[in-house]
Subunit: 430 residues, 2 copies
């Protein structure tokens, strides 16, 4: 009698979906390999707080392999996947080695997209990774530092103009937090400029901010932003990003700091499979989240598009990715037991966005909240979903400090060239 | 009657010395400009804990201008000083502008030095800035990740060999912490390698570790390191650092991670003044800390060399720089009042070094401590000297977690090239 080989599951991507798949496979008779290009899982919903100097990177990121230290059947690999060998049942890696799978789970996420204008990226970085966040943080803080040294009024004004393109949750949260940074945190810190005079401009191509929310919450969000001093420009599609600023409506808005929060593009997983996608490159998967023609391959999270309740697509948010990861784990376990499982059904638990201190919107479907109560629920919910007691304690302490003293602790200009290198004054980071 | 211009003090450098000067000048009738190339003050004594993934950058660094937000007479500038115009009483900055001074305080610190072999730096980075710390952290963590993927035993062994050059306090603290990282924090995290098999080698040219401490404490420190699994090689001057490893005694020790903790070189302040220095480039100042021939220019901290009690030079540590900063502020105030002040006298309050959990050495002069009690005093003292309640709370929480769960939260590989870029496998960082 020979020992039977255990079922091999390869999970590509350690975001919310991939992590949940591995978590929910605990106890199953499988060998799991989790591959990611980075060594850490990020709590994406708070990444904008790293970009705006409210939190440190280690408060919203956890080393992946530490999360599975007590699961000997889980191997974590820091590597880049270069494709999928469908015939061989193998995932080739960047150094020529490959991983054999019986079941493959693609949870490779998305990057920001520039509607075909990738040349805008150096001037308008997006926010997906920890490096993105520290890059944006450096640019925001350096703009104030440069302005303090600048004598030319036009240049100074461009330095003190911060443009956020896209008024979805990330754009709204960035705009609100940058406004608070300028108007409260930094207000007494400079001697030649008044940070409160900074312009924060939120540009949106559509009709309203937070388009995915009910209209009354959108209106509340816009008014809240305006009361924080954010200029909201709606129906304003951006037609160019340069070192000078942002072009829309034929005009150039002079701004040294532009942040892109306007669109995402799925990771190249669909290309690896040669499978059909939507316009944003998201894989079209079957109702059980498998790739058409490949029941052994699952794809989840921002990598895919799938219809949710009422015919609306499942949104690209953390709870959706986690539910999909849980579904995949359930189905793998059922198959190992020779059983089947019902197709994936998405349960929308609600939408939350923070605009500023004491200002947030929540849409639970059955009830809508806004203002201080919504803000407290937002805070408690986000702390609850962090991993581990330590991160929860430390984020709570940092928020307490921000709330009571308006001090943001992570105001450090690091990474990249030394701060006074002339090249950092240009649009190109790293 | 015209308003009399206030006395202008320019302080170059926001380390311990510069900060203390500005702090102690509170209430004096002076206008102060604090210039630094970075936007933050660093708590240097704990920088090695950032390099070894125990603490986050924002826990030991504070934005300089935030520290003086309530002092309207203090202007903070993020800029590089390029020299001193002695005749004009001006400090030129990197963009052609300049700062007029009545009193100039040079507190520009030191960088690590390679005994004339600057070509070793890419292979053996030193530890002075936050970027240095995250670079070293990335190298240490990447070495384990690379080893997990490596099949060749010789390469794997080189990846799992960590060499620290120089057994002063920084070298000892780095070696001890890396040993704990490998032996406890990471012990269950890998599947193909056993991190406990990592070699940590501390190489010292001199006769003993912690040469500045009494001999019994040196012996205790060496034995403690050895019990943590550190190989201590004494009387071993390094004659080369390459991408392959470290050369000493005619042999090459194959190691992918080499950290330099062997020597410092003063910043170029002496060159700006054309003033005499010691062999390490440190300015020779008068007993009142002024530069010979220039009573209006002070130099303090690691920029200078000065004799302390018993003819021994004042050590290059934080308390010495702070005492010097306080002396300068006192003398400036006295001069403004038309009085004089006694020369600078250094009071040595003690030397502390941590080796590992429950292991530290303290030399107060009148009493010497080692072991668990010394470790607790070390911890309390370091928390006490951090700035602000928030940082103290958060560092305490992180240490509690490290102490009870062996988990180090800041194990994030960030900055620089993407983790799987081949260039990170080479010796050159950034």
């Amino acid at each position: 009698m020979t020992a039977r080989r255990r079922h091999r599951v390869v999970v590509v991507g350690g975001g919310f979906g991939g992590l949940e798949t591995v978590n929910r496979l605990a106890g199953a008779s499988v060998d799991i390999t989790l591959v990611d290009q980075r060594n850490h899982h990020i709590f994406q919903p708070l990444l904008y707080q790293v970009a705006t100097a409210s939190l440190a990177t280690s408060e919203i990121a956890w080393p992946l392999r530490a999360l599975f230290r007590d699961r000997p059947e889980v191997t974590t690999l820091l590597a880049a996947v270069t494709g999928v060998d469908l015939a061989g049942g193998r995932v080739p890696l960047d150094r020529g080695e490959s991983l054999d799978y019986d079941t493959l789970v693609l949870a490779t996420g998305a990057r920001h997209a520039y509607f075909g204008h990738e040349e805008w990226e150096p001037f308008a970085p997006g926010l997906k990774t920890l490096e993105d966040a520290t890059t944006i943080r450096r640019r925001i803080l350096m703009a104030f530092e440069e302005a303090e040294r600048e004598d030319d009024p036009a240049t100074r004004s461009a330095l003190l103009t911060f443009v956020i393109v896209g008024a979805g949750p990330t754009g709204v949260e960035l705009a609100g937090t940058i406004a608070e940074l300028a108007r409260t945190t930094l207000k007494s810190d400079f001697r030649r400029i008044d940070p409160r005079s900074a312009r924060i401009v939120l540009i949106e191509a559509g009709l309203r901010v937070l388009a995915g929310y009910p209209e009354d919450l959108s209106t509340y969000a816009r008014r809240s932003l305006e009361s924080l001093g954010v200029e909201v420009e709606l129906l304003a599609p951006v037609t160019g990003c340069t070192g000078e600023g942002v072009v829309h409506g034929g005009r150039t808005l002079a701004a040294r700091t532009v942040i892109w929060a306007a669109g995402v593009k799925a990771s190249p997983a669909a290309g690896w499979l040669g499978a059909p996608t939507d316009a944003s490159g998201r894989l079209k998967v079957l109702p059980d989240l498998t790739v058409p023609g490949h029941p052994e391959i699952f794809a989840i999270g921002d990598t895919v598009t799938i219809e949710g309740p009422a015919g609306k697509p499942v949104p690209g948010i953390a709870p959706a990715a986690k539910q999909q990861g849980a579904h995949v784990a359930r189905l793998i376990k059922a198959r190992l037991a020779g059983a089947s499982a019902p197709p994936f059904v998405y349960h929308h638990q609600g939408s939350l966005a923070q605009i500023g201190k004491q200002r947030a919107v929540i849409d639970f479907g059955w009830i809508r909240l806004r203002g201080a109560l919504a803000w407290w629920i937002w805070g408690v919910a986000h702390i609850y979903f962090l991993i581990g007691v330590r991160a929860r304690l430390i984020v709570a302490i940092n928020w307490l400090w921000i709330h009571t003293l308006d001090q943001r602790s992570a105001r450090l200009i690091t990474q990249g060239q030394p701060p006074v290198d002339p090249s950092t004054r240009k649009g190109v980071a790293r």
